[in-house]
Amino acid sequence: MDLAKQTLIDLYTTMLTIRRFEERVVQEVYAGKVPGFVHSYIGEEAIATGVCAHLKREDRIVSHHRGHGHCIAKGADMKRMMAEIYGKKTGYCKGKGGSMHIADFSIGMLGADGIVGAGLPIATGAATAAQLEGKGNVAAVFFGDGACNEGEFHECLNLASIWKLPLLFVCENNGYGVNTPAEYAMGAKDITRMPEAYHIRNRSINGNDVELVYEAAGEAVSELRKGGGPYFLECRTYRWHKHFLSQTLEDLRPREEIESWKKQCPVAAFERRLLDRKVLTHSEAESINQRILAQVEEAHAFALESPNPQPQDALEDVYST
C-alpha cells in the first residue's frame, strides 16, 4: 500500500502521542500519585490510531476501561484527560469518572465503560442513531477478547446484523481477560467465526501493524458509509503492562511471551519502516517526539495545577436539567 507521506506521519504522530501519554501516566501511577485503577494501552496503540484515522467528528465511538488511546486518537484534549486521571475539577468528567471513564461527547467520544462488554449495546444505539440520521456517519466500538464471551456481544452482533447498522466492531484481541487466556476462555477459538455466524463481514489482522489496521479500517468504514451493514475487525495485539497498573496484582502471563511481544512494538516497528522508506529522517522523528513530550508535559502540568473538586461538588450532575 502506498499511503501519502502526510498520512503516514499523522499515524506515527498519533501512535507516539498515545505511547508518550501512557508512559507518563504509568510513571505517575507507580509513583503513587494517581488515585484508583489505570489500565494502560501501551502495546495496542496501532489499533485506535488506524481506526480513528478514518472517523470524522460526527462519527461516534464507544470505548472501554483501557480507553486513553481511543480518546487521543479521536481527538480528545490531553490536558483535560490528564486532569480527569488525577481527579481534578478541570477534567473531562469534573473528576467524577477518572481514568476508566473519560468521555468527550463534543468529539463523538461517547465514553468509556468499565463493565466488560457493556459498551457494545451503547455503540449499537449510536449506530442506530447514525442510521436514522442518514448522513453516512458511522459508529465504532472498541472491546477486548474478554467481551466476546459476554452475552451482550452476541446480542449486539445479532442486532447490528438484522438492522444492518453502520457499526464497526473493533476487537482488540490481546489474548487475556486479566490473567485468563482467551485460548482457555473462548469456545469459538477463532473470534471471527462469531461475526461470521451472524453474517457480518469480518477480517482478522495483525493489530500491531498500523498500516494494516489503517487499510482494513478504511475498507470497513467505507463499506459502512455505503450502508452495507456492520463490519468486524479482529486486531491481534498484546498489552505490555498488567491488566491494570498495580504493585500487587500478579501478572501470570509467561515472561518470554511478554518479551517477544515487546519486540513487536507497534510504534518502533512503524518508525523503523518510515526511516527505511525515507518518509522520515531521524531528526524529523526526534522533533516529533520532542513536540509530543512537550504536549504531555503541558498536560501533566495542567493536571497538577488544576484545583481539586470541592467535596460538595459530588452532589452535582446526578440528574440533568
Binding site: K94, K96, I122
Partner: protein
C-alpha cells in the same frame, strides 16, 4: 369526558410526543402496531428478545441526541438488562460530569394477582430507588399514565415507568386536550382526617375500597397516591400525617427494604411529624416470599382491602 383504557392512554402519550419530536425512537420486543403504522418501522423498531442490547442501545441513542422509549413489557424482563439500566443509564450523566443528557423512558409492568407465579409477579421499584440517577413513576389511572409519560418524554433523564399489569385494561376519563402530570406531585385520592394511607400502584384501589367501608364505621381515611417515587412528594405525605397522626403504607411489593419502609422512615424521622404520631406507623405489604401460583396462596401473599382495614383498625384502636 371520554373514557379510554390505561394502555390506550399510554399509547396516546407516546403518539403525541413522537409527533412533537421526530428525534424519537421506540424499541420493544413486541410490535407496537399502532405506533408503527403512524411513525414507520425506522422509528418504531421491533427488537429481538435480547434486553441488554436494546436497553443499552437506548443509551447510545440518547447520547447521540435521540429520545427513546424502551418497552421491556414486564419488570421481570428488566432484570435481564439491569447492568445497562443501573450501571450505565443511571450513572453516566454523573460519571461523565454532566456533559451529556440521557432522555430515556423505560416502561415495564409490575404487580401480582393474576396467577403469573413468582417470576412474572414482581414489583421491584425499591431496587431502582436505591440507584441514584433514575426517575421512577408509578401511574395508576389512564389520566395519570398519559400525563406522566408525556412528562417523561420531555425529561432529560432516564425514567422508569412501573405500570400495574392489572390496570392495563382499566378505563377512565382522559381529556382530549393536551395536559401533563408533573413528577413529584402526589395526588390525594380521597381526603380524610383519621388515618393517612399511602398506597402504591394497584393498592390505591384496595385502599380506596377500604376507605369506603371504614367510612361507614366512622373512620376517615386520607388516601395518597404518590404517582412518582423519585422524586417523591415528601411534603404532601408529611402534611397529611401531621394532620391525621396515623400512617399506614400499602404496597404489594415485599416488605423488606421496600418503598413502604422509605415512606415510614420519612415520616418518623421528621421531628414535627414524629411528635404528632398517635400510633406506630404500619406497613401492609406483600409477604417476604416469592409470589405463589395458586390463587388461594397468591391472595394470601399480597395485600387487599381486608388487610388494610385490619391495619387501620389496629392503628386507631391504640
Amino acid at each position: 369526558m371520554r373514557e379510554i383504557t390505561f394502555e390506550q392512554a399510554a399509547t396516546e402519550a407516546i403518539q403525541e410526543e413522537f409527533r412533537r419530536n421526530p428525534r424519537t425512537v421506540h424499541l420493544s420486543t413486541d410490535l407496537a402496531a399502532e405506533l408503527q403504522r403512524e411513525f414507520g418501522a425506522d422509528r418504531i423498531r421491533v427488537t429481538p428478545i435480547a434486553e441488554n442490547s436494546f436497553v443499552g442501545a437506548s443509551i447510545g441513542l440518547a447520547g447521540s441526541g435521540f429520545r427513546t422509549v424502551s418497552n421491556l413489557r414486564m419488570a421481570t424482563f428488566g432484570f435481564v438488562a439491569l447492568d445497562q439500566m443501573m450501571n450505565h443509564a443511571a450513572k453516566i450523566t454523573y460519571m461523565f460530569g454532566g456533559q451529556a443528557k440521557f432522555p430515556i423512558l423505560y416502561r415495564m409492568t409490575v404487580g401480582a394477582g393474576y396467577s403469573g407465579a413468582a417470576e412474572h409477579s414482581i414489583s421491584p421499584y425499591a431496587m431502582y430507588m436505591n440507584v441514584p440517577g433514575l426517575k421512577i413513576i408509578l401511574p395508576t389511572t389512564p389520566y395519570d399514565v398519559k400525563g406522566l409519560l408525556k412528562t417523561a418524554l420531555r425529561e432529560n433523564n432516564p425514567v422508569v415507568s412501573f405500570e400495574p399489569f392489572l390496570l392495563g385494561g382499566m378505563k377512565g376519563p382522559v381529556p382530549e386536550e393536551e395536559y401533563l402530570v408533573p413528577f413529584g406531585e402526589a395526588f390525594i385520592r380521597r381526603e380524610g382526617k383519621d388515618v393517612t394511607v399511602v398506597a402504591l400502584a394497584r393498592m390505591v384501589y384496595e385502599a380506596l375500597a377500604a376507605a369506603e367501608d371504614l367510612d361507614k364505621e366512622g373512620i376517615s381515611l386520607e388516601v395518597i397516591d404518590p404517582r412518582s417515587l423519585v422524586p417523591l412528594d415528601r411534603r404532601t405525605i408529611l402534611e397529611s400525617v401531621a394532620k391525621t397522626g396515623r400512617l399506614v403504607v400499602v404496597d404489594e411489593a415485599c416488605q423488606t427494604c421496600g418503598a413502604a419502609a422509605e415512606v415510614i422512615a420519612l415520616a418518623t424521622s421528621d421531628k414535627a411529624v414524629f411528635h404528632r404520631l398517635k400510633s406506630a406507623p404500619a406497613r401492609v405489604c406483600g409477604l417476604d416470599i416469592p409470589i405463589p401460583f395458586s390463587p388461594p396462596m397468591e391472595k394470601f401473599a399480597i395485600p387487599d382491602k381486608a388487610k388494610i382495614i385490619a391495619a387501620v383498625k389496629a392503628a386507631v384502636a391504640r
